[in-house]
Symmetry: C2
Subunit: 566 residues, 2 copies
């Protein structure tokens, strides 16, 4: 069915990802020493888009934006928190998953973008557990279905109330004709190790499984009778907190409101600026390096709070990616440039690296946040191009933008007309490119780039710290093309115009394949295998056609399926 | 666009996969001692379906059926062949890939099934190289585009003629708005280790890349000037043959014509029988164990030729899977039963295992063929159910059918009404389940089943050789359910009826995820990530809609794209 025939449940207003706990409509965040509690209590009337009610703790993008904000703040603002309990504020229901009317009435692109963000937030929950000593505990105090159970699956430990009615379930397939696509299938098999035939049965049984059987089948870790519920949750939260090495007496770093101006033509932050060329379908993104050398030590950096350059620039990039992905689907190519002093970038990186390896929590958080933000870029369905010009600072952490790009261009020499005495454009590998900023395949972008070419990797890595001009960078395989002044504009113009002439869908598929050479992880399986199948299913008449299961749900009419297996 | 509006280029006749070299229309197979040559010379008028001409050595399913047959025969009928040269019989063109008019006019399911079979054949080429000492050499004596280059990519060594006009290319994205989906993207990045940005550029450049640059970018292994072409091909073929340990003087085993009767209701071979229940959307498949003990040794087994039970039953299963997949898309559930003596199955397995580990080429071929056939089952988009009843022989190699199933049922006890004195149903693990029959994820089905549960795996493996009744098998996690006589029919009826009521697409996605827990390989990436994205793209209006690139190709009109990135 053509998408234009859908009742599109999108809003005319731009979606805004900046939020703070005092404005949450759907979540309550409270802390009690080392234990924080995130209580989901969705406001039925608080949907982001008109046309549906968020009943039974079902969620839409707006609910998940608040969850993402809370997960981020817990890491930065609450160094003392070691366990995060996710639970429900509604009786008998933990969470009913993504709102079905919202899904049914959304155009394809909205569904896909929504699922991607939801996936990223759940990956962030697992990253907090794995990298930050902030362990998530799902206190499933009522039925958790679909995305509700998928939220629990992202937690390290799942407790289910054992009351003969509460169950966990993945009813997407039997009820909606789609997959549990927000990590559900992958986490059931690859994280919780539910046997494949049991997983198959479970995923077709819409009422789900509770009690001891849920434990036996590994769907949850424990089933706890209601009378012992509160005390057991408290006990478990304390146990999990005991495993953490987060500091007890550090002061948190407040994620103060992000300064942003936004109109149809540009998005501007302190360090990041994007200009939107609708005709060309292109966004030009410029990232400014730090104005100063880094503070003397990481304590002073934490004292700068959200203004500390690496944190500030990461927050801005994060917000920009989310804004453009959600609000500007027709701008299919993003061109990255940087501006500033490479040495200062590397000095900031160095402070982060040495402090994090000395065990500093704040440096660790900034590094992992940068890692997550770059991973968000990797799974963004836009063509990414880096343009390395004189005056730029593609060094260390900022070089990752070029390494994340599908193609990169570095000017050989200088712009003769503009500034013939300028220093030529350079790029500089730093230690930060060799370790902590892994992609979701578990490798660095540099390793992925040289996958299967050990000698190429070694030759490049050996030159770290060196400001490489275009010819060297091209020779080492660190940049795709190194045109000179005469060809520069033309080459970049052709690359972006050509990109705009191709099928946007085919580009998405191409990039999703080429960006992830080498090993696979649960995360790449979720974004690759699971998401790709889900997107296919979302597009099929059996789900989204007028007689499809997703559209017919709740109408009293059964779906009419084309029975041919594909 | 509804599929019904397509001009469907499928034939009313059933597709038949049984073929032999004397009936090839598109390939010539010749051998010269240790070197075989497979020459592609496609008959333009020989399309499987009316409506297109197979120009420029482009191919359709019929062309690939012959290729598959040749690859199989080379392994069994030609133990002396150590190198297989794939080349073209047409001047200046190696192969133009899948026929575009065929693709454009095919319904979605046909495209997907065609690509799956093509992928399997290419994986089989790699399996011959890796497991059989029969190394494939692509002698690309003209331009290889799209699927033509993908065919070359499946070969171990790629030679390209260096004549200033011949090139390799993946023009799918720029010309057709789809992916090089028959392994192309995955093999470029993960097998040939082409750097991701170069791969990206290459895959958007429709004219492709030839000469030295193709070598530098690792797209081919060598570029050879035309004057030195023949001698270099001969030289390289001899070198590759030198690596092999295939026997010099063994007699081949002829793959004699497979006896098969086929009508609307049943498909029958000597050892395999399938009854087709169109109302229920189900196929009941029965596999007969060997009638006798195995021959005394592998030489005697080879003397039985294609009648040797393991080879015969594998050939029949292979043909049945292909027939049902292609000709019966509406029969969404396959129920496997077996019949015979488990001891005889295990004795045949044992002969294969001991002979293969002693270096016997024929035992090795049979084992790998069984492995490939079971892998074909794993990627089949049908729900698989195993029903283990009294008199069955789910042991060793045949137990793999139950381990491949999405769910299995084993009768606890006997059918009281039918034969109350029968021996209860059993299943038996054999050594063959613990090693050679790996899935495409590189693990055995047993390892995949117990992925993340080492203790469960050990407990099951320890019981090998033991005839396990239902309660034991269920306790060990080797079977999903163990109903008794009273519940048996009802449980299987409910399971199959329920399956038939679900969205066929969602089932395909579910199964494609749950069947492949654990590690990923190039093969799982091709069937998971790459294929799923391709299927999504095939479904999108930007490719297959009336204004899409695939439909508009060759009309002189440019495609009209919905520019929104998803």
């Amino acid at each position: 069915m053509p998408e234009a025939m859908n009742t599109e449940a999108t809003t005319d207003k731009r979606v805004e990802f900046r939020v703070s706990p005092d404005r949450y409509r759907h979540w309550k965040l409270s802390t009690d020493g080392p234990v924080a509690t995130l209580t989901m209590d969705v406001d039925e009337q608080g949907g982001l888009v008109p046309g549906y009610e968020l009943k039974l703790n079902s969620y839409d993008l707006g609910v998940d934006i608040e969850l993402y904000d809370a997960v981020q703040r817990l890491r930065f603002e609450h160094p003392e928190v070691r366990t995060v309990v996710i639970t429900s504020g509604k009786p008998k229901i933990f969470c009913a998953g993504a709102n079905i009317r919202m899904l049914a009435s959304s155009p394809h692109g909205w569904k896909v973008n929504f699922c991607k963000f939801t996936n990223e937030t759940r990956n962030g929950i697992e990253d907090a557990t794995a990298s930050s000593g902030q362990t998530y505990l799902a206190a499933v105090n009522g039925t958790a279905s679909g995305g509700g159970y998928e939220l629990a699956l992202a937690c390290e430990h799942i407790m289910l109330v054992d009351d003969r009615s509460s169950a966990v379930s993945l009813p997407e397939l039997p009820l909606l004709g789609v997959l549990p696509g927000t990590g559900g299938l992958t986490r059931v098999s690859d994280k919780r190790h539910v046997r494949r035939d049991l997983a198959d049965y479970f995923s077709t049984k819409s009422e789900g499984i509770g009690g001891k059987k849920a434990v036996q089948w590994r769907l949850v870790d424990e089933a706890v009778p209601r009378p012992r519920w509160d005390e057991t949750v408290t006990e478990r939260a304390a146990e999990l907190a005991g495993r953490s090495s987060r500091p007890e007496d550090a002061a948190g770093v407040e994620l103060t409101p992000l300064a942003k101006t936004r109109d149809d033509d540009a998005i501007r932050y302190d360090h990041v600026e994007a200009t939107l060329d609708r005709e060309a379908g292109r966004v030009d993104i410029s990232v400014k390096g730090p104005q100063n050398q880094p503070p003397a030590d990481i304590a002073a950096a934490a004292g700068q709070g959200a203004d500390f350059w690496p944190l500030a620039v990461t927050r801005e990039l994060d917000d920009l990616i989310l804004d453009l992905r959600t609000n500007e689907p027709e701008l299919g190519t993003w061109v990255f440039r940087t501006e500033g002093d490479p040495g200062r970038v590397l000095a900031h990186d160095e402070l982060l690296l040495t402090s994090a390896s000395a065990g500093d929590w704040f440096a660790n958080e900034v590094l992992h946040y940068l890692k997550r933000t770059l991973r968000r870029l990797d799974v963004t369905s836009r063509s990414l191009i880096a343009a390395i010009e004189p005056g730029s600072c593609f060094a260390g952490s900022l070089l990752e933008l070029a390494l994340a790009a599908d193609r990169s261009f570095q000017l050989a020499g200088v712009f003769e007309d503009k500034d013939q005495d300028a220093e030529p454009a350079t790029m500089t590998l730093g230690d930060i490119n060799l370790g902590p900023l892994t992609m979701s395949n578990g490798l660095t972008r540099l390793q992925t780039r040289f996958w299967g070419d050990e000698a190429g990797y070694e030759a490049a890595a050996k030159r770290r710290g060196e400001a490489l001009e275009a010819e060297d960078a091209a020779e080492l395989g660190l940049v795709t093309f190194a045109p000179d002044d005469i060809d520069w504009d033309e080459e970049i113009r052709i690359a972006t115009e050509e990109r705009a002439s191709f099928s946007p869908d085919a580009l998405t598929g191409l990039e999703a394949n080429y960006r992830f050479a080498g090993p696979e992880t649960m995360e790449t399986k979720i974004f690759g295998r699971l998401t790709a199948w889900q997107n296919w299913i979302f597009n099929r008449p059996n789900a989204s056609g007028p007689d499809g299961a997703l559209r017919r749900f709740g109408t009293g009419q059964r779906a009419a399926f084309d029975r041919r297996r594909v």
